[in-house]
Subunit: 416 residues, 2 copies
C-alpha cells in the first residue's frame, strides 16, 4: 500500500468535466488500495477574477482581506471534487486550510507554511476516505485569519501535505509529461528525464523550466518528498497500473544510480547585461553598485567581477531582466559619483545558458568542453559564472538556438 | 451612540460600484459615531452559479460539501466590502461564520443558528472598527464544518447578529422602501407603514409580502430585535441624519402607540381548493386525509371543517398551492378507500385574502364588516378561517383586485 498526494492545477479542474477526469485519476489510485490526499487549485481563471475584484475594490488593499477573498477559489474546487468523487462511489471529504489546520506565517498573500496537522486525513485513510485539500492556503493561528501562499502556492501545499503525511510520493499532474533535458520547442531531440535530483531541478526551475514552483522543490528537498511530475492529459483508463507511467521523478541524488555528468540545459532570453568599466578595486564598491539596485527593487542575476590587473581598477558585469534594463541603467548612472567608474557598456540582446548536472562535482573539464564547442561555432562568450553543479554563459541572443543544440549534443543529451 | 447591524442583499452588492454605494451607507453610520456590524449576501448570481456547479457535479450530493462550496460567495463579498471601507478611511475587517464563530446545527444547507460569539466584533467597536460579517453561514462545532442556513439566510444572520450584539436596531436594506398595507401594484392607494408588530409582519411575510424571510422575523420577535426595512437605492449623501429615513420598523407591539385595528391585507393568487364531500365525522379521518398529503410533501394551507349537521358526515375543505393541485387530487383519490367520502369538488382559480391586525384582538366584528362589504359587491366567499390577529377568505381569483381594494378602503388603509 502506498500513501500518495496527488496535485492538480487550475487547468485540470477548469470545469466539471475536467474535475470528473481528475476524479477518475483519484479513483484509480484509491481503487488500487492507496491512501490518497488530493490537493487542488482554483478553477482556471477563478483566482484571476478574484484578484481583479480586489484590485477594483482598491488598488492598494489589506492583504488579509485579499486572502479572505482569493482563498475562496480553492474552497469551491475542493468541495466540487469531493462531490464528484462521492458520486463515483469513492469516500471523500474536503479540507480547507483552516480546518486541518495548515499553519502559516502572517505574511498574508505570501505566507509560508509552518506546520500541517494531518491527523484527521490519516484517520480518514483508515476509513478509505480520500482527503481533498484546498491548496494555496492556510491559517495564521494567532489572528485566526486565512493566509494564502502566493501565486502557484498549490505546488507548495501539495509537497508540504506529502511531508506531513509522510507520503511515499507527491504526484504533480501538469500540462507537460515531465522534465526535459531542455526546451523541446528549441531542441526537438530533447529527452524526458526519468529522474532528476532536487538540486538539479532547483537550477532548472529557477532558470526557466516552468514545471514547478521553486519553493515547492526546496520544500521537497528539505523534507525528502519524492515528487513525480506527470501529465494530467493522460486518460485514467489508459494507464497500466503495472507500469511506471511517463513522467519525471524529482528525488534525492542517492536515488539516481547512474548520474549523468550533465542533466539538462536551461536558458533565459530575457536578459540584459550591464558592464561597468574601470571601477575602483576597493572595499565598498560592490555595495555602492548593488545597494541602489536593490532599493529600486531590481533583481540582479549573474554578477561577474574579475581580479584587477593593475590592482587599482577592474570591470564588473551583471545581468538583469530585459524589463528592468532601462531602470537599471538609470540607477547606475545616478550613482556614478558614489561608485566612480569610467563608462558603462550595455547589451540587451543577450541570453543566459546554464548547463546543469550534479555529476559536474566529480568531473573536471566539463565547462572547458563547452567553451571549445562554442568557439568552434564562432559563438562568443560574454561572461561566465559557475557553481558546484552548473555553469552559466552569457552569449548574443541570436546564437541561442545554435548554442543550446550544440551543448545538448555535446553532453550526450540527445534522444536516440 | 447607537449599535447597528446593517444588512445588504445580493443585488446591493452585485458589483464593485454597488459595493462602494453600500460602503458609503456604512461610512455614514460609522461617521455618526455608531458601532456598526454589516451582514452581506453573495454578489447577485454568485450563489446560483455555485449551486449550479454542485448540481452539475452530482444531482444528489453531500450537503456538507455543498455548504463548503456555496459559503464562498459571502466570503468574497465580505472581504471586498472590508477593502472598500478601508479605502474610504473606515477601519473594517471581514468575519466568516467560522471565525466568530456563528454556531449552527448540523442540518447542512438548512442549518439553524444556535449561538453567535460577538466578543471580537465588540472589541473591534472599541477601536471604531466595522465588522463585516459573511451572511448565510456558520459552523457546526462538533464536525468543524461550514453550514449554511438555506436560501435567504442572510436576513436571519443579520437579525441573529443584532441579537448577539444587543444592537439597538437591525437595518435591512432592500429593493423596497418598507412594508406596505398591501401590494401597491394592485392597490395604488397602498400606504407604507411606519411601524408593524412582529406578529403582523409574520402574517404579512408568510402570506406573500416578500420583504423578509419569515424565520428572520420569528427570530426578531423572540429576541426583540427592532428591524428597520429601508431602501438600498437611497443615495447615502441624500440622507438627512437628523430625520428618520423612509422605511418600516418591525417591532414589539408595545412600541406601537396607536394600534390600528387592521394593519395590512395580504393575498395569494396561487391557490387551489379541494373540498371533500360527506366524509365520515369520526376520529382518524383528518389523519387519513392529511397523512398521505404530508408524505407526498404537499404543503396544506387553509383547512376548514364544519361541525357535522347530522352527526355522521361532514364536508372538509383545504387549500394547496396551484403547483401541488394535481398531485393533491391524485393523492386524495388514491386514499379514497381509507378516508371514505362521497365526492371531491375542486377549484384552481381561487385567491386567499388575509386581513391582518393585532387590533382585532380587542375589536369585535372586524370580519363581519368584510363579509358585508364583499357581499355588497356580489363577491362570494368560498371558505373562511380565522386566528387571533387575522382572518382569511377564499374567493374566486377573478375578484382578487376588487376584493383587496374594497377591504383596503373599508379598513381605512388608503393613503390620504
Amino acid at each position: 500500500m502506498t500513501r500518495l498526494v496527488m496535485k492538480f492545477g487550475g487547468s485540470s479542474v477548469a470545469d466539471i468535466d475536467r474535475i470528473r477526469n481528475v476524479a477518475r485519476h483519484v479513483k484509480r489510485e484509491a481503487d488500487a488500495g492507496n491512501d490518497v490526499a488530493v490537493v487542488v487549485s482554483a478553477m482556471a481563471g477563478a483566482t484571476n477574477s478574484l484578484v481583479e475584484l480586489c484590485r477594483a475594490a482598491a488598488p492598494i488593499h489589506d492583504q488579509r482581506e485579499y486572502d479572505a477573498v482569493v482563498a475562496s477559489g480553492e474552497q469551491v474546487t475542493s468541495g466540487l471534487l469531493a462531490i464528484v468523487l462521492q458520486d463515483m462511489g469513492v469516500a471523500a471529504r474536503s479540507w480547507q486550510g483552516w480546518q486541518l489546520p495548515v499553519v502559516t506565517t502572517d505574511a498574508h498573500a505570501a505566507a509560508r507554511i509552518l506546520d500541517i496537522n494531518a491527523e484527521e486525513p490519516i484517520r480518514g485513510f483508515a476509513r478509505k476516505e480520500v482527503a481533498v485539500v484546498a491548496g494555496f492556503q492556510g491559517i495564521h493561528p494567532e489572528s485566526g485569519r486565512v493566509a494564502t501562499l502566493g501565486r502557484g502556492g498549490s505546488d507548495t501545499s501539495a509537497v508540504a501535505m506529502a511531508a506531513a503525511l509522510r507520503a511515499d510520493r507527491c504526484d504533480i499532474y501538469t500540462d507537460v509529461d515531465g522534465v526535459y533535458t531542455t526546451d523541446p520547442r528549441v531542441v526537438p531531440k530533447a529527452r524526458r528525464l526519468d529522474r532528476i535530483a532536487f538540486e538539479e531541478m532547483l537550477e532548472m526551475a529557477s532558470l526557466g523550466a516552468k514545471v514547478m514552483q521553486v519553493r515547492s522543490i526546496e520544500l521537497g528537498m528539505v523534507h525528502n518528498v519524492r515528487i513525480f511530475v506527470r501529465s494530467s492529459f493522460d486518460r485514467p483508463e489508459d494507464i497500466d497500473p503495472d507500469r511506471t507511467p511517463p513522467g519525471t521523478l524529482i528525488c534525492d541524488e542517492s536515488e539516481i544510480m547512474e548520474q549523468e555528468v550533465v542533466t539538462g540545459i536551461a536558458f533565459s532570453k530575457d536578459e540584459a547585461q550591464i558592464s561597468i568599466r574601470s571601477v575602483a578595486d576597493k572595499p565598498g564598491v560592490a555595495a555602492a553598485i548593488f545597494g541602489p539596485l536593490a532599493e529600486a527593487n531590481i533583481n540582479v542575476d549573474m554578477i561577474v567581477q574579475n581580479v584587477s590587473a593593475d590592482g587599482k581598477t577592474t570591470d564588473l558585469t551583471f545581468t538583469v531582466t530585459a524589463a528592468d534594463f532601462e531602470r537599471a541603467k538609470v540607477t547606475i548612472a545616478e550613482a556614478r559619483d558614489e561608485i566612480g567608474y569610467e563608462r558603462l557598456d550595455t547589451a540587451s540582446d543577450v541570453t543566459k545558458i546554464s548547463v546543469i548536472g550534479i555529476g559536474m562535482r566529480s568531473h573536471a573539464g566539463v565547462a572547458a568542453r563547452a567553451f571549445r564547442a562554442l568557439a568552434d561555432r564562432a559563438i562568443n562568450i560574454r561572461a561566465i559564472t559557475t557553481s558546484e553543479i552548473k555553469f552559466s554563459l552569457l552569449i548574443d541572443a541570436a546564437f541561442t538556438e545554435l548554442a543550446v543544440r550544440t551543448l545538448h549534443s555535446l553532453y550526450g543529451l540527445d534522444k536516440t
